[in-house]
Amino acid sequence: MKRERKAVLCFLILVTMVTAFGFAQPKANLLVSVWAGPHADLQKRVTQEYKKDNVTIDDVDYGNLKAKQLTSFQALSGSGNYDVVWVNSQWMKEYTDAGYLLPIDDYIKSAGIDMSIYSKGLLDGCVFNGKTYGFPTFAQTLIIAYDGDVFKKEGLKAPTNAEELVSIAKYFKQKGSGIALPAKQGSGAVTLFSQLLFSDDGYYFDKNGKLNLTSKEAVYAASIYDQLVQNAVPGVLAWHHDETAEAVRMKNAPIGIIMSGLANQNSDPNKSLIVNSVKYAPLAGKNGKAAATNSFWVWAVAKNSKNPKAAFDYIAWMASPATEKKQTLADQQVSGIDALSKDPEILAKAPFLPVVMEQLANGKIDPPLANFGKLKSALIVSLSEIATTDAKPADVLAKLQQDMAGVDFSK
């Protein structure tokens, strides 16, 4: 009897051990590609709380991020390639066309995730041919940041449309400073141009999908851009977003057009001289309407991931309301979840959020066309020409329209 009891006990111990160690799911190792920056540092901190699998985050500077992701997509599964990629919304079309990303609809269905919590405008940028390829997050848009004390002292009010913005820039230019804006030959200038274009209900293409850079809205946007550059603080022609935001923070420019993702640094006393005086306004067009170029990031699963289910679980967790709120509170990131923008706790931390949400609500995304990159590259140079020469914006855009005549924008 004693022997039997011992045998049963041994059996139970064995069963417990086998259950605990033998059949327990081993943790998957996930390699995640993200854009380097303060947000990536935060993502690393937040990820430490994710215990389900082992996650390694590889943060790469923006200039090399896409090239590295593309290289990883070509690699064999399990050869050290990325499982999860943080994708710029403008690359989504190219990635999905090339078959680099995994459709996640089945995973979403089985996990019972309610996708309606995500901003429709942003979610649309994650869906291609009826398939969902990721969760939107980290929305960004250009907003106006200004030093409220200086404006009060000068008796100025925040600009409510493009003409007023130019007048304020001229006023400060005459006083020896000017406006700060991203005018270096690069994508920052195109974002500014397109935001001015979208704010006036303009677009790159007409209703028939034909390139329309000579529309009155496009010419007006380019002309406002030109006038802003002429009335900017010295050096803006070599500035991208970082330098522009820094100039406003360090009081080198009393007003600037900054990327919302950098606005959180204005309230950091270690980095900013305008902590208590910074104010925000929408970057509006001719009639006062402000619309963003909806630029955001997407948590997606690489198709060549060895652990697609584990990769999905991680992105679903990162894009969940709880994790998104944590990141928004810590770094004032603009989430892809609508409800968070109305959360009082978040609003207290991110005073620029109403401005951003107003612009995102009116926003448009860049067209998901295979040849849009070609147009954007050409537009970058044309805007640089407008900013640095005496060429008339209308003439430059007309020439660009002519140069792009042979490019297929139908798919």
């Binding site: 200039g63 896409k66 090239a67 593309l70 997509f73 070509q74 190219e94 066309d97 090339a98 078959g99 680099y100 270096k184 030959q185 690069g186 603080v233 010295p234 050096g235 803006v236 022609l237 070599a238 330098e243 080198n252 295979a370 990159g373 070609k374 954007k376 590259s377 140079v381 640089s384 020409e385 900013a387 640095t388 020469t389």
Partner: protein, 313 residues
């Protein structure tokens, strides 16, 4: 019969010549790892890149016979105004950078040899510091130097000058020159090190003879020092030439190729086509053209010099 025996004897000799026992294949075996590395790391990727330039392809696209476009990317290159501007800028950068490197390097190397040993020993490690910095960091460092609130305009301000006198990276007229100056700062130390070695190898007797003949310092410099350094200059020219034609990091960090494409280089244009416009096959064609230009400008003179040297030998 005799004939057959002769043939078999010949065959035997051939087999004997390639015998492993005699170690005839040893040189080939010793070279094999290097040959394999060259084959897989250099030749195959090069041929693959060239093949891609002949097809309308990109990331994720398969190379199919329908996508064959022949040499149309190369024809397009010669009709593309941005590509031609990039060729001009690349060559201008290359010549400007090399001339500055050589002039500044020679002056500094001679200066460091002329001053007391104590000072030169202290200065030499200091001047080599830029060499240890990566080109992208050099670009970022100089971005702050060229900033209107940076050190350059502070110094210019002491002389009553400002950004309107030298717009630096913000103007089409000075952007390329600004990148060349940043390159000088980084590469001149390399030239100083190599030229110092060359200067130390010049026989002292030549200078003594020149002194006896009554040659002044300038005549000695141009008639003895420079000619004696000619072989070192060729090496520097080759290394710097290849390096400058491939220039990417400094320009990318400082100007991004702007303003208005005034500082765009072939490498930046190839990068833009590959990763911003997803036009990989044209990017490959641009890269090949860069390689051909490098060979034409810097490779041929080097090959000619080597040939004439072997003729003399």
């Amino acid at each position: 019969m005799l004939n057959t025996a002769g043939k078999s004897g010949l065959m035997k000799r051939k087999t004997f010549e390639l015998s492993l026992e005699r170690g005839d294949l040893l040189p080939l075996l010793l070279m094999l790892p290097v040959l394999l590395v060259i084959l897989f790391v250099m030749i195959i990727p090069l041929l693959y890149g060239f093949t891609m330039s002949l097809f309308d392809t990109g990331f994720g696209k398969k190379i199919t016979s329908e996508a064959f476009i022949g040499f149309s990317n190369y024809a397009k290159f010669f009709q593309d105004p941005v590509a031609l501007k990039a060729v001009f800028n690349t060559l201008a950068f290359s010549f400007g950078a090399i001339i500055g490197d050589l002039v500044l390097g020679t002056l500094c190397a001679v200066f460091l040899l002329q001053i007391p040993r104590f000072f030169s020993s202290a200065l030499r490690p200091v001047v080599t510091i830029p060499l240890l910095v990566s080109p992208i960091v050099v670009g970022l460092t100089w971005r702050y130097i060229y900033d209107p609130r940076g050190i350059l305009y502070w110094v210019l301000g002491l002389f009553g000058l400002g950004i309107q006198n030298f717009p630096g990276v913000t103007s089409s007229s000075t952007a390329l020159l600004s990148t060349i100056i940043a390159h000088w700062w980084q590469v001149t130390p390399f030239v100083i090190i190599v030229l110092t070695a060359g200067l130390l190898a010049i026989p002292e007797e030549l200078y003594e003879a020149a002194k006896i003949d009554g040659a002044g310092p300038v005549a000695t410099f141009f008639r003895i020092t420079i000619p004696q350094l000619s072989k070192v200059y060729v090496i520097i020219l080759l290394i710097s030439g290849v390096d400058t034609v491939k220039v990417f990091d400094i320009i990318y960090a400082l100007t991004g190729g702007g303003p208005n494409n005034s500082s765009i280089s072939l490498s930046i244009y190839a990068y833009s086509n590959a990763f911003e416009q997803s036009n990989l096959s044209y990017a490959m064609a641009i890269s090949f053209m860069t390689m051909i230009i490098t060979f034409l400008v810097f490779g041929i003179p080097f090959v000619r010099q080597n040939l004439s040297r072997s003729d003399r030998a």
